[in-house]
Amino acid sequence: MSKIAFFVLAFLSIFSAMMVVFSRKPVHSVLSLIFCFFTIAGHYILLNAQFLAAVHIIVYAGAIMVLFLFVIMLLNLNAESEPHKTSAGKIAAVVSGGLLLLVLVSVLKSTDGLQLSAAPDSQVGMVKNLGMVLYDKYMLPFEVSALLFLTAMIGATMIGKKELD
């Protein structure tokens, strides 16, 4: 059952990712990406990382992608105004992307031999467990990331505001 779920989800992820790249309208790309993120959240659940799946949906689908949509609407981008590369450029992109995939696959082939060492602990991905780790071992990075957000907030406001004449 889980196995079938994995393959279905994997197929959907790849398909929606392709759609992101190849759809003509930017809005379609964004919607595909949101869908892709949902499938990845599904993967997370399969992997017993429930907390992360929730956070993923909230942050990506809920916040980041809304931001994207918002910007696209703000800039009024549509298929007509969409710039396209020359076909030579497209071919070059596809070829080098394919080459990269090829190389990555051949490099990562060594994971074939990896085996599960011990019985995995299914509780690892739970909120309680992660919270213990996050607020104990990774306390300082956590605080620093808070600072990072503050900086990003100030930066975005600074850059995005209208210039004073």
């Binding site: 590369k85 450029g89 070059a92 992109a93 080098s96 992307g97 080459l99 990269l100 190389v103 990555l104 051949s106 490099v107």
Partner: protein, 632 residues
């Protein structure tokens, strides 16, 4: 007193720091006295140390203060050594130095850079004391370089005059040549004896067999250093030019103390020189040649300070002859008496120049004895002392040198006697031209003739007294008086006396004294006739002809050096600059620059500014990196 000797050099250093750092913030009335009193303090301590040393003939005050240098197995302590040799030098330096400092207060009173002058003078005394006090060749070398630096600074004291700067540079460069010899000598000493401390080196040298080539090499190299510092042929030409400095500086540095550093060094190393007879011969020969040549040149100079400068060179030659014939005590004796009477002569000359408003040409002087009575009298005493009239100081020391030369070789004695006669001739010529006859200067100068202030005349009088009685430090044997200096220095030069050639007979000494007195009277009479009775005045420079012209032009040595050393070097360096540097090296370096420039001009085209292209390039690079990783 023995634990105070570190104060001897420190006091002048303090004076230097106060005057040097304070510079124009030090009140003019104070800075001269700070400088003088610091040297006086050193003088008093030196007297104390002298008393201590007098009491015990075997006493040597040696004090190591800290480990100075340490490299591998080589260590060197920073230490002072006060023995009977250095105490004599200390007394001369601080004593004469103090008098000249006092004199400077009067002489330099119109000078703007008053504090700077005294700072340099103090610094000089400090380095000179360091040179004498050091217990190793290295410390001596530090002082040796330091006095060279101060000499440079003081010759070029009036640095706004370019000719003075050139004179300063000349002195410095000439000294550098000598210093190189000194340095090489030090290396060889270290190589041979494994140490640079006097004690170790001399103890080692006493163990060696007589006349070793390495000792000859060491002593010759050290002597090259002495040639530079003590202005011997061929490195003497800087000293006459050094007269560009203020006159007290000429008195202190270029007559009384610094130029005798070479003699001090040879006396200090007497153990080495005794063991190297060939070097001693060279020393004697060079000294002899210098004495004669400088004496000849001195005959035809018309600048009051130049005459004295050449006489200094000549007297230094005398000292080196004494060193060369093994009469180390005698050389030091002459250093002491020479310091008295030559400092006196220079200070008198300064007083004359002061009165004449900066005029130095004796052809424009004359008849000054009425206007400058004190200067006249003291100058006469100095002249008599240097000419060797009894009972003045020079008489005893010079006769002792002549006697030493007699026992060594009749030829040396003969030439040296001629030089001694020359000394008397040019000194009396100078004396008569300056102080007798009619005044030949301008009306304006005549009106302003005045005796110098008391701060200048008192040092003159003290030095005149010293020039008179200084000779009693070393009475000849025939007077049945103890030769004080010989006995005093016995612990230092005793080793050398073992190799001495014996003493001149009493008959000879009587003959020498008698004949020198007669000759002196004849010379004085002749010179008096020529310059006072006949009122002969040396001709203007362009009218002098023949051999006299050669003498007036100092044997064309400067021109010779210019043509055969300076000019070829200039040609060589301009060749190196124009062809090797500009044509070859610069081109190579520049072509690298052009290559880089050109290559980057081509490579720059890759940077089109299209971000898309950049991204593709990056991806391809990443792919290549992975591929590379796989292959490896």
């Amino acid at each position: 007193m023995t634990n105070l000797i570190w104060l001897i050099p420190i006091l002048p250093l303090l004076g230097f720091l106060i005057n040097g750092i304070g510079n124009k913030n030090v009140p003019r009335s104070v800075s001269g006295w700070i400088a003088s009193l610091s040297v006086l303090g050193s003088f008093i301590i030196s007297i104390g140390a002298f008393g201590t040393l007098m009491a015990d003939p075997n006493l040597v005050i040696k004090a190591d203060y800290f480990e100075w240098l340490s490299a591998g197995s080589f260590t060197l302590d920073f230490g002072f050594l006060v023995d009977r040799l250095s105490i004599v030098m200390l007394l001369v330096i601080t004593g004469v130095g103090f008098l000249i400092h006092v004199y400077s207060i009067g002489y330099m009173h119109e000078e703007e850079d008053y504090a700077r002058y005294f700072a340099y003078l103090n610094l000089f005394v400090f380095f000179m004391l360091l040179l004498v006090l050091g217990s190793s060749y290295v410390l001596m070398f530090v002082g040796w370089e330091g006095v060279g630096l101060c000499s440079y600074l003081l010759i070029g004291f009036w640095f706004k005059n370019n000719a003075y700067n050139d004179a300063a540079k000349k002195a410095f460069i000439m000294n550098r040549i000598g210093d190189l010899g000194f340095l090489l000598g030090m290396f060889l000493i270290f190589q041979t004896f494994g140490s640079l401390e006097y004690d170790t080196v001399f103890a080692g040298a006493r163990q060696m067999t007589f006349d070793q080539p390495v000792l000859t090499a060491i002593t010759l190299l050290l002597f090259v250093g002495a040639m530079g510092k003590s202005a011997q042929i061929p490195l003497y030409t800087w000293l006459p030019d050094a007269m560009a400095g203020p006159t007290p500086v000429s008195a202190l540095i270029h007559a009384a103390t610094m130029v005798t550093a070479g003699i001090y060094m040879v006396v200090r190393s007497n153990v080495l020189y005794v063991m190297a007879p060939f070097s001693s011969e060279v020393v004697a020969f060079v000294g002899l040649l210098t004495a004669l040549m400088a004496g000849l040149i001195g005959l035809k100079q018309n600048d009051i300070k130049k005459v004295l400068a050449y006489s200094t060179v000549s007297q230094l030659g005398f000292m080196f002859v004494a060193l060369g014939v093994g009469a180390y005590t005698t050389a030091l004796f002459h250093v002491v008496t020479h310091a008295f009477f030559k400092a006196l002569l220079f200070l008198c000359a300064g007083s004359v120049i002061h009165a004449m408003g900066g005029e130095q040409d004796i052809r424009k002087m004359g008849g000054l004895k009425k206007a400058l009575p004190v200067t006249h009298l003291t100058f006469l005493i100095g002249t008599l002392a240097i000419a060797g009239a009894p009972p003045f100081a020079g008489f005893f020391s010079k006769d002792e040198i002549l006697a030493g030369a007699w026992t060594h070789s009749y030829l040396i004695f003969g030439i040296l006697a001629v030089s001694a006669i020359l000394t008397a001739v040019y000194m009396f010529r100078l004396y008569y031209l300056t102080f007798h006859g009619e005044f030949r200067g301008s009306k304006h100068q005549q009106e302003h003739l005045h005796e110098s202030p008391i701060s200048m005349t008192v040092p003159l009088m003290v030095l005149a007294v010293l020039s008179t009685v200084g000779g009693f430090l070393g009475m000849p044997e025939i007077f049945h008086m103890p030769h004080f200096l010989n006995n005093f220095l016995e612990p230092v030069t005793g080793w050398a006396d073992l190799y001495a050639h014996g003493h001149a007979s009493h008959t000879f000494e009587y003959t020498l004294i008698g004949s020198s007195m007669v000759l002196l009277i004849v010379i004085i009479y002749l010179v008096y006739n020529k310059y006072v009775k006949d009122a002969h005045v040396p001709k203007a420079d362009h009218l002098v002809t023949g051999f006299q012209n050669v003498l007036a032009n100092k044997f064309y040595v400067d021109e010779f050096y210019n043509t055969f050393i300076t000019k070829p070097l200039n040609v060589l360096s301009s060749f190196s600059y124009n062809w090797i540097e500009k044509g070859f090296i610069d081109r190579i370096v520049n072509s690298f620059g052009y290559l880089t420039n050109g290559a980057s001009g081509v490579l720059r085209l890759v940077q089109s500014g299209h971000i898309g292209l950049y991204i593709i390039a990056m991806v391809i690079a990443v792919i290549l990196m992975f591929v590379f990783k796989m292959i490896i």
